[in-house]
Structure formats: C-alpha cells, structure tokens
C-alpha cells in the first residue's frame, strides 16, 4: 500500500548541507497501523512529510496504492493528497476563521467534491468525534483536545486510504492523549484506513502492528 524506496532528504543550512533522511526503504501494508518512532531531530517528521506528499524528497520514491506520488504534477499531487491522504498535525491545525463544520468540509470542497451532503458528512464526522454540539463553534471556542478531534474529522472527510498523524498528542494532557489515540485507532480498525503515526512516545507506539525506529535519518530497527 505504502512503499518508500531510497528516500533521501537534505536541507541547505548555514553550516552547509544537513541530511535529514538518508536512504530509507519502508513498506506498510494496507489497513495496518505503523508507528514511526525516534528522538527529536531523528528525521521522522521529514520522512512523514515526504510520505504524505508535503515535502519533495531530494532523492527516492514514494508509492501509495500504486501511484508514484512524486512523479505527479503539483496540481495532481494536490488532488492526490486531497482524495487519498488525511493529515493530523502536531499542532492545532484548524483555520481559525472558519467554524468547525466548515473546517471539516473544506477538503471536500477544495477537491470540488462538495455537494449537498458535504456538510451532512462533516456534521456526522464531528458527531462521531463527540463534537456534534460544536458544529458552529470556532476553533478558539474549543479545547485543544476538541480541536484535535475536529482535525481527525477533517482528515476523514474524503475517505482517505492513508491517515498520517505527526505527533498528534504532543501538546495534550494524558487523558486527552488517550482519547485522541482511541479515535485514531478506531478509524484504523473500523474503517480500515492505514494509519502511520509519528511519535517520540514509546507508549503510544506499543499498540502499533509495525514499529519503525528512526535514528540519524536511517532506520535503526
């Protein structure tokens, strides 16, 4: 389902070239829950950005469902991200000027799939996340946990085949962290969506069917 080959990412910094990811090969089967773990600066977020089509690799390829995503044009890659990949970031990633229901509906509307039912589906997803009574609320009126659950709902609006979560609970309290992880795992198990979680929290990774340990830009184990 997800296949990375010889993936490499380097940045030009003031002190010269920095190699963030150095020739990683990775395969994740459809419907699995994979955790990418590693210390800060190990290259796990850079890896996830390349896997998700958010950051162009310096070298190598990423294939999702048989599509070499970095061989696509910018607009086709945007459309692919929109339809096939859902993201949950490590920060409150909602647009502050839109209501929760607008935030959730936005990806469907960007992909021109917005129809009469888009808002109905957005409301259903928010309801599933326990935010049925927060449809018209703005992000600033919600707690961090509620915002993160709304971000999960948004990631699911286009029925993605791959859900990428980059440190989704890093700034949340323990109880909320458990709730968010339960939601992500439920999506993985109930909808069959492949889940790739990037975290430095080993406890969160323990439930994963596949654990990839990154250190110094390469797979350590």
């Amino acid at each position: 389902m997800l296949s990375c080959r010889a993936l490499r990412k380097s940045y030009v910094a003031e002190r010269g070239e920095v190699l963030a990811v150095d020739g990683i090969d990775l395969d994740v089967e459809a419907g699995r829950y994979a955790a990418i773990i590693g210390r800060s600066g190990s290259g796990k977020s850079s890896l996830m950005a390349m896997v998700g089509g958010l950051s162009r690799p310096s070298d190598g390829s990423v294939t999702i469902d048989g599509t070499d995503i970095w061989g696509l044009s910018d607009d086709k890659l945007a459309a692919f991200r929109n339809r096939r990949i859902g993201f949950v970031f490590q920060f409150a990633s909602l647009l502050p000027t839109l209501r929760l229901v607008d935030n959730v509906a936005l990806p469907a509307m960007l992909g021109k799939r917005g129809d009469g039912d888009t808002y109905g589906k957005a409301a259903m997803l928010l309801g599933r996340m326990g935010l049925g009574d927060h449809l018209d609320a703005y992000p600033s009126e919600c707690s961090a946990g509620e915002q993160r659950r709304a971000a999960i709902a948004r990631a699911l609006i286009n029925d993605p085949v791959l859900l990428l979560a980059d440190e989704p609970t890093s700034d949340l309290d323990e109880q909320t962290e458990i709730e968010i992880m339960d939601e992500l795992l439920a999506v993985n198990r109930e909808l069959g969506t492949t889940l790739v979680l990037v975290t430095h929290n080993l406890a969160l990774a323990e439930q994963a069917e596949q654990i990839v340990h990154i250190a110094g830009g390469t797979i350590a184990s």
Binding site: L54, S55, A79, F89, L95, T97, L106
Partner: protein, 403 residues
C-alpha cells in the same frame, strides 16, 4: 466553494481589525485622491478651456493705420476702414502663435437694429475658428449656428429664436452673450462671414460696399500665443513676416497665468501618480508581511489538497476585498470632498463670474469605476508575488512556518 473562500477572506480581514482598517484607509486615501484629482483636473481643464478663452486673445493684429483702444480683454477687433488679407497670418506660418481667428467688423447706421439713428457694429467671424465670441454665449438655440443666425451682445434686446430685421432682411436671434465689459462686444451683432457677406449689397446701399466685405479681406485677427511663446517673440515674428500690420498685445499677465496654470496641472498629475505609486508600494509591503504571517495556514490549505491556484485565490480574494473596499470608500470620500468643494470654492468662483464646469456624469462614473478597479488592481499586484512564492513552496515548510 467560492463562497467559502470569500468568507475565509472576509474573516481574515476581520482578524486584524486595526491593520485591515489602516490598509483600507490608506487605499481609500490613495484612490480618493486619484478619483477626486481626475474629476477635478478634468473639470478644471474644461473650465480653463472656457474661462481662459473668455479672457480673450493674447494679441490683436490689425492694419498699421488702424486706431485701437486698449482693453484688458481682446474679444473683438476694432472697427476700421482699413483691411488685411484673410490669409496674411496663415501664409506667414508664425510658430509662436496658436489659434488665430479672423474678424470682419462693419459699423452701420439705419440698419434697423436699435433706434433709427443708432450705429451698430456688425461683427463677422468664422464659428469653427472663433475662440472669443462663442465662449461668452449665455444662451443659445439648441442647434448648430447656421447662415442667417445672429448673436446679440449683452446690451442688445432680442428674444432667443425671434426674428431680427437687418437692412430689411430677416435673421434669427441664435444666441445672446453675457456681459463682458468690452464695449464693442456688448453692443455688437455677431454673425458668420457668410451671413455678413450676404448683407453686403444692403450695407453698401447706393454707395460702394465696405472694403472689408470684399472676398478675402478681414478687419483683423485675434491670436493666441503658442504654448511657451512670449508676447515679444510673437510680436517680433509677426512684424518681421507680415507687412503693414500693427500688433496690439493684451494683458500679458493673463497669458502668463494661462501658461503657468497648464504647467501646474501637469505637476499635480505627476504628484497624484507618485502618491498612488507610494500607496501601491505600501500595500505590496503589507501583503508581503500578511503572507508571511499566514504561511502556516497556506501550508495547511496545501496539505489538505488546495491547488496552487486555490492558495493564490484565497490571498488574491482577500487583497481584492480589502483594496476594493478601500477604493469604494475612496470614491465616497472623493464625492464628499467635491461636494464641499462645490459649496465653497466653486460657489465663490461662480459668484465672481468665473465659470466652473464639472465633468459630465458618465465620465465621473467612469473615473469612479476606474479608481475602484485601480485600487483592487493594486491589491492584486501587491499580493501576487508573495502569494505566488508561498504557493510554490513545499506545504510542509509552510506548515512549520519555515522561512
């Protein structure tokens, strides 16, 4: 989708109310200046075209032996028995002269105009070349002047459109002139060369026809200086190239004011352009900062599938909204300023007899639309480059707020 992006842009404007207010205010000032400036400049230009023409010609060219009275405004050549060739000035090709209008003046008695023994000046002019008679029309028939029409000086009685017999021949009162203070102008009866020539036999009576009514002859010329030319240059050129003439200069202060004001208006246009350019630069800098501030949001939009055009669209929509609103407010501000202007300066000018002609409504509306479109265009130009740069970057870099 468009409504959602529009709503997003509107909400973004509302997020930083003080900044949005200042941005809109700056654009409103810029577009207000452009709109007001354009309307006023056009109005001043029109008013100057009439007002300065009403000041008369800069110089009068008459036969050398003619007796002339010095008047502040050269509106009519002095009646005299002496004549000049109608093409005398044209043949000389004097570059220091601008517009030239020939006139034929015949002083007559027993013409049927006024009381029995009253003398009257019949003044012939070529309507297409005239610039000293018609600007003084206070009322006229709603059609072009034609043969058989006469225009009455301010002190002559006659109802517009009524018949006036001159030497027994019927003429139509086509128009009436306002008060000029120049005697010949006030008492004159003005008509085209063709109309005056048709009266030739009647004016001559049993005697000979006045020499000025002979074909190709005129009493004199009223002339305007070419832009930048001085009265001395023109006088020298005329006397050097045309024999047997006398040059009577008008009030040189007036020609100086005319030329000076034309230069001043050009300067005001240049200042307007500079002010608008500085507004455009400021808007550009501001939007550059706004795009930088919104990097994470733009990155998020890209991450969830916004195409490059959609990312650009969000920022451009926001810019058009802000600067377009500014443009509309600028036009409203401009209208208010012009109302104030009309109630003060224009009212004063009209009270002292200086005409101020506003630009017509369709052109005013065109200027208003132009100012709004220009304001919106400044927003588009201002945001386009920073937004384009942001749209080209990796979504991940933007999400992380990298520079």
């Amino acid at each position: 989708m468009r409504w959602l992006l529009l709503s997003l842009a509107l909400q973004n404007l509302g997020r930083r109310k003080a900044r949005s207010f200042l941005l809109i205010a700056a654009v409103a000032l810029g577009s207000g200046v452009v709109f007001t400036g354009a309307v006023l400049m056009q109005s001043i230009d029109r008013s100057m075209a009439v007002g300065f023409t009403r000041l008369g010609a800069d110089m009068m060219v008459v036969p050398e032996g003619a007796l002339t009275n010095i008047t502040a405004s050269l509106l009519v050549v002095e009646p005299t028995e002496l004549v000049l060739d109608a093409d005398a000035l044209a043949k000389a090709r004097i570059t220091s002269l601008g517009r030239i209008a020939a006139q034929k003046v015949v002083r007559v008695e027993h013409s049927g105009i006024g009381s029995h023994h009253e003398s009257a000046d019949l003044i012939g002019f070529e309507p297409a070349q005239d610039f000293t008679v018609q600007p003084w029309l206070s009322e006229k028939l709603n059609r072009p002047m034609q043969q058989g029409d006469v225009i009455l000086g301010a002190v002559r009685d006659g109802v517009l459109g009524s018949q006036l017999l001159i030497f027994g021949k019927p003429h139509v009162v086509y128009g009436r002139l306002g008060r000029t203070g120049v005697g010949t102008h006030e008492r004159g009866v003005f008509m085209s060369f063709a109309t005056l020539d048709a009266l030739g036999e009647a004016i001559g009576g049993h005697g000979t026809k006045p020499a000025v009514l002979a074909p190709g002859k005129v009493t004199g010329f009223l002339a305007e200086l070419a832009p930048g030319a001085t009265p001395l240059q023109a006088r020298f050129a005329i006397l050097s190239n045309v024999k047997g003439v006398k040059v009577v200069a008008g009030d040189t202060t007036l020609s100086g004011i005319r030329q000076g004001l034309a230069a001043l208006l050009d300067g005001i246009v240049a200042l307007m352009v500079l002010m608008f350019a500085s507004t455009a630069l400021m808007v550009s800098v501001l939007f550059s900062a706004i795009v930088t501030e919104r990097r994470a949001e733009l990155g998020l939009l890209k991450a969830i599938g916004a195409r490059r055009g959609q990312v650009l669209g969000v920022m451009v929509t926001e810019a058009i909204l802000a600067t377009g609103i500014g443009g509309i407010l600028g036009v409203v501000l401009g209208v208010l300023v012009m109302r104030l202007f009309e109630r003060s300066l224009v009212y004063y000018l009209e009270n002292v007899g200086v005409p101020f002609l506003w630009v017509d409504l369709p052109r005013t509306i065109a200027f208003a639309v132009g100012a709004i479109v220009l304001a919106a265009a400044i927003g588009v130009v201002g945001v386009l480059y920073p937004a384009w740069r942001a749209s080209r970057r990796d979504a991940y870099d933007l999400v992380r707020g990298g520079t």
